[in-house]
């Protein structure tokens, strides 16, 4: 199967530079809003389409990195410093000399194609004149758009080195989007020759209808004649629609539309397709349909897929190892391909977690339960007189037994991770021996009470703040010892403490230690 090996962006939208190596089959691009997931798909779509028209419709001013443009305008505006933009797709070897060469930024002989916008040097003199005026805006109009292969051969939308389909579920259901989609589907299954034949036949039928049926009316027109339009706005491709069970998909719900489109794109019926770009497949889908969708994607093994998603569960359930994380603050993607299989499989099956928060963080405190999670902010404030959200520390509550799953990922990604857990009465066994595999890693540290008698967080908290706890939880009718009450109502008790006495709480020493270590 022909596929993309690597994508490189330069000054394209929010990416000043960006490079990512792709899996030949499944790639899940995960990231927050505004992180550039869609931008990546858009870059691939433009480059593969080879369509100058598409670029012009979007407008160069919208494709260029805004910072680079404004920096240039603020600078001394030298002609030779005019920024350029490119998108390079490094392709698997297709044994086509027209694709192969060194005309890429890696300066390496390989197959690939490139979309590029450069100042049109033939108009150099005019551009210089414009730049002289300090009030001038950026001369986008003097840029040239080119689509070339790595052998420096120009290509256009007619020549497709990789057949692809973009399914943009975030911009569904406008009439235009649906038309565009149906046209794409048609183009992906019909050869250029077939298309020409169909267009021709369609025009012939229209004309026959005019001659055989419509013409009868012409006698009443006194010299005029009815015509059936045939132009770029009314032809086979504009009249084409897609139906399922005789219902036009335009008339179905958005969710179902997405589903049908994706299903079609991934099915073997469209075997001519090399690459499917799926934009946020989770949009408009119910939980059940979402599961079906994930099933569809994970079983499509006959083409390369690029999925963009902001859903934790899509990424984790498809296969964490195929995920590419894009962070809105950095332009370096994080690949999870190094994660071991049991860990990846664990997250495929585990309940939805804030895995995304975890992998996108630099410093994380993992806590065992909700009680620690609720009070951690107050602990931080009382220790450092600052708010936790001002630091770049993320707190994540995990099920006690799955710490190690997170630690495996932390290891791969170099995330500084503090684990805060109970010793459950066996400090040596639970908190030392249990994590001996991680002892050598400096980015991971386990924090807990060392005294076996202080087996849980609540005991530690009670010991440190006995007076406050006694005062708050004491009610006339409560017969249960206060500590026992806290142990049986962990989250509730933590919440009440936070609500009433947050500022006065003393922080257990092992938590203090953890905060100090992670803050460094």
């Amino acid at each position: 199967m022909n596929h993309i090996l690597k994508i490189k962006l330069f000054n394209f939208k929010r990416f000043e530079t960006f490079e990512v190596v792709l899996d030949p089959k499944l790639n899940i691009i995960v990231g927050d809003n505004e992180s550039g997931k869609s931008t990546l798909l858009e870059a691939v779509d433009i480059t593969l389409s080879g369509s100058r028209h598409k670029v012009e419709a979007k407008g160069l001013e919208n494709l260029f990195n805004a910072t680079v443009i404004s920096d240039f305008l603020k600078s001394d505006r030298k002609y030779e410093n005019l920024p350029e933009l490119y998108v390079e797709l490094y392709l698997s070897d297709q044994f086509d000399p027209d694709l192969n060469g060194k005309n890429n930024s890696d300066i390496k002989t390989c197959d690939g194609i490139k979309f590029q916008c450069q100042p049109n040097h033939a108009l150099g003199k005019e551009i210089k004149e414009i730049l002289k005026n300090p009030a001038s805006i950026f001369p986008f109009e003097f840029y040239s758009i080119s689509f070339t292969t790595f052998s420096a051969t120009a290509y256009s939308s007619y020549k497709k080195y990789l057949r692809h389909l973009l399914i943009d579920n975030s911009q569904m259901s406008t009439e235009y989007a649906i038309k565009e989609y149906v046209r794409d589907i048609y183009s992906s299954v019909a050869t250029p020759l077939e298309k020409s034949k169909h267009q021709n036949e369609y025009r012939k039928h229209k004309d026959e209808f005019r001659k055989n049926t419509l013409q009868a009316l012409d006698t009443k027109l006194d010299g005029y004649k009815f015509l059936i339009k045939s132009s770029s706005k009314s032809n086979l491709e504009t009249d084409l629609a897609l139906s399922e069970n005789q219902i036009n998909i335009e008339n179905k719900g958005k969710g179902i539309q997405c589903f049908i489109k994706t299903k079609f794109a991934l099915s073997r019926a469209s075997s001519e397709m090399d690459l499917v770009l799926l934009e946020e497949p989770e949009n408009h889908l119910s939980h059940i349909n979402m599961k079906k969708m994930i099933d569809l994607i994970s079983h499509a093994d006959n083409r390369q897929i690029l999925v963009s998603t902001h859903s934790n569960s899509v990424s984790a359930r498809l296969d964490l190892r195929k995920s590419i994380l894009i962070n809105s603050s950095s332009t370096v993607p994080i690949l999870l391909s190094g994660i071991d299989e049991p860990t990846a499989k664990f997250f495929m099956k585990a309940p939805d977690k804030n895995l995304l928060d975890f992998v996108l963080s630099k410093k994380v405190i993992l806590v065992e339960g909700d009680a620690e999670f609720i009070l951690m902010e107050a602990f931080y404030r009382n220790t450092y007189a600052d708010e936790l959200h001002n630091s770049d520390i993320t707190i994540i509550s995990v099920d006690g037994t799955s710490f190690k799953r997170y630690l495996n990922i932390a290891n791969k990604l170099g995330i500084k991770t503090a684990v805060i857990r109970d010793n459950d009465g066996k400090y040596q066994k639970n908190c030392i021996d249990n994590y001996s595999d991680y002892a050598a890693f400096t980015n991971i540290k386990i924090f807990s009470e060392t005294d076996d008698l202080i087996s849980t967080f609540e005991i530690s908290l009670y010991n440190k703040n006995t007076a406050i706890c006694e005062q708050i939880f004491k009610t006339p009718r409560r017969t249960l010892p206060i500590l026992d009450y806290m142990l049986t109502n962990k989250a509730e008790a933590a919440y009440v403490l936070l609500d009433k006495k947050a500022d006065e709480l003393s922080v257990p020493q092992y938590i203090k230690d953890a905060l100090q270590w992670i803050k460094k």
Partner: protein
């Protein structure tokens, strides 16, 4: 892999040798120098297969060296746009500086594209590229490769694929390019010329295509005797060689559109079916030919001294004579001009 240069005589089946090696499987690259020969080869390929198979790539030399060899490795990095065929590079720029190869408008000097590839060792990338995409490479009209381009075709012999160069030393009438003293005396001596190929580990074959199919024994004997160029005929039939002096006869031949009139130069000054000697190279569809002798050549002709013509003139004359499949007529250009009917036509 076989690397061979076959030196052939006119009409002995050079093109056929290439065409016979083609099939619809092997990736074949065919390179010609002249555009007319490119067209000729394309026609022959289409005649063999009924269409132009995708695995057969036809290039003229400059399209090949620029698009296939230079661009994939240098286009972006060197930042050039096209070829400058008209001006010669200034001697002011030293080797390995940009101006040595590229003009101020970022165009490559045609005579130094090959030199660029060699000087900057891009030739190794080119060889690798050919190893990957080609199963065999053919270069026709090899005798016209001169100067840096000759060095280039020797370097190409590093490929691991079948390489076949064909040409006729005596049909050397053009140079792909010239560059000062580079390979200036390449064509001065046939034997030394062959040696250059041998030095490049290319086997020289002068025997396979020694006999002409196009020219009869009469013509071949004439050339061997008077031009002192070795050529034999595969045929046993004979033809007529006639020197025309009778004005009426001259008029008949002049007006006969089945007989091409071949002039030393400026054939367009005569209103008849005509071409220049050098321009009909590679053509193979003339039954009878009339060679018009310019003054210099005519004097040598009368003196039986044609083999002492300047080499380039002699080669062109050889090309002209060997176009005929049957009969050959000679006319003195002077006599032609004197002929009333003809000169009347010429002055019109």
């Amino acid at each position: 892999m076989d690397k061979k240069v076959v030196f052939a005589v006119a009409g002995s089946g050079k093109t056929k040798l290439i065409i016979d090696s083609l099939d619809t499987v092997k990736n074949s690259y065919i390179i010609t120098y002249t555009v007319s020969n490119h067209k000729n080869l394309q026609d022959r390929v289409v005649r063999k297969f009924g269409y132009l198979p995708e695995n057969i790539k036809l290039y003229t030399y400059f399209a090949f060296i620029y698009s296939f060899c230079y661009k994939p490795f240098c286009h972006d990095i060197v930042n050039t746009k096209g070829i400058n065929y008209t001006t010669q590079p200034s001697q002011f720029f030293k080797k390995e500086t940009r101006g040595h190869y590229i003009d101020k408008g970022d165009r490559l000097f045609s005579s130094r594209i090959a030199k660029y590839l060699i000087d900057f060792e891009i030739i190794d990338d080119v060889v690798e590229r050919l190893n990957k995409y080609a199963d065999n490479i053919f270069i026709d009209e090899i005798q016209d490769f001169a100067s840096n381009d000759f060095n280039f075709i020797l370097h190409l012999a590093k490929v691991d694929v079948q390489l076949l160069y064909v040409g006729d030393f005596h049909q050397h009438t053009f140079d792909t390019s010239r560059d000062g003293s580079t390979r200036k005396n390449l064509h001065a001596d046939y034997r030394l010329y062959q040696k250059e190929f041998e030095k490049g580990s290319i086997i020289v074959d002068t025997s396979t295509l020694l006999k002409s199919w196009r020219c009869s024994k009469t013509i071949c004997d004439y050339i061997s005797k008077h031009l002192k160029i070795d050529i034999e005929s595969n045929r046993t039939d004979t033809g007529i060689i006639k020197y025309l002096t009778d004005p009426a006869e001259i008029q008949d031949v002049f007006k006969d559109n089945s007989i091409i009139k071949l002039f030393f130069k400026m054939h367009y000054n005569y209103e008849c079916y005509s071409k220049n000697w050098g321009d009909c190279k590679g053509e193979d569809h003339y039954s009878d030919v009339c060679v018009v002798l310019n003054d210099t050549t005519f004097k040598k002709y009368l003196a039986g001294d044609l083999h002492n013509l300047a080499p380039s003139t002699k080669n062109k004359l050889y090309v002209a004579i060997t176009r005929t499949k049957n009969n050959l007529y000679f006319i003195s250009e002077k006599l032609l001009k004197k002929n009333e009917e003809v000169s009347h036509a010429a002055s019109r």
